[in-house]
Symmetry: C2
Subunit: 83 residues, 2 copies
């Protein structure tokens, strides 16, 4: 079993209203040191081992997980820790 | 300037309907190797250098960024790359 973590971010230049709201709220709470905030999401997948993992992961990202028009993604494959 | 990335996940045991929907959709698209999916978010902050960074970050997470009842957080501090 592998653990694949997919990180999805808005492309540079795409407006991030949630990040902006977070940055402004932190400033309003007195955390003046916060200059900028950008929000992304990550998806942790437990994946049965099989061939072409990287290729299939790229396909999954393009088809479902990310929106390639406005988002970038990267992923990282590790051995899954059995819990 | 520091870059702080805050990773926020639902606590173990808290239902994650978005993750479930992603897992089921991937299975339905033919990616049978996906056993489980959990979704989290991350926030990249550009932070002016100052004292007590770690302590203030913990405070920001508890007060605004995460919901400590149902979410866990961790963060990572790096030197900001000037772009």
């Amino acid at each position: 079993m592998k653990k694949v973590t997919v990180y999805i971010t808005l492309k540079q230049g795409v407006l991030d209203p949630e990040g902006k709201a977070i940055g402004e709220s932190l400033n309003a709470l007195g955390y003046q040191e916060i200059v900028d905030a950008r929000v992304g999401k990550f998806i942790e997948l437990q994946v049965d081992e099989g061939p072409n993992l990287e290729e299939r992961m790229n396909e999954m990202c393009d088809r479902l997980l990310a929106n390639p028009i406005i988002e970038d993604y990267r992923f990282q494959v590790e051995e899954a820790v059995q819990s």
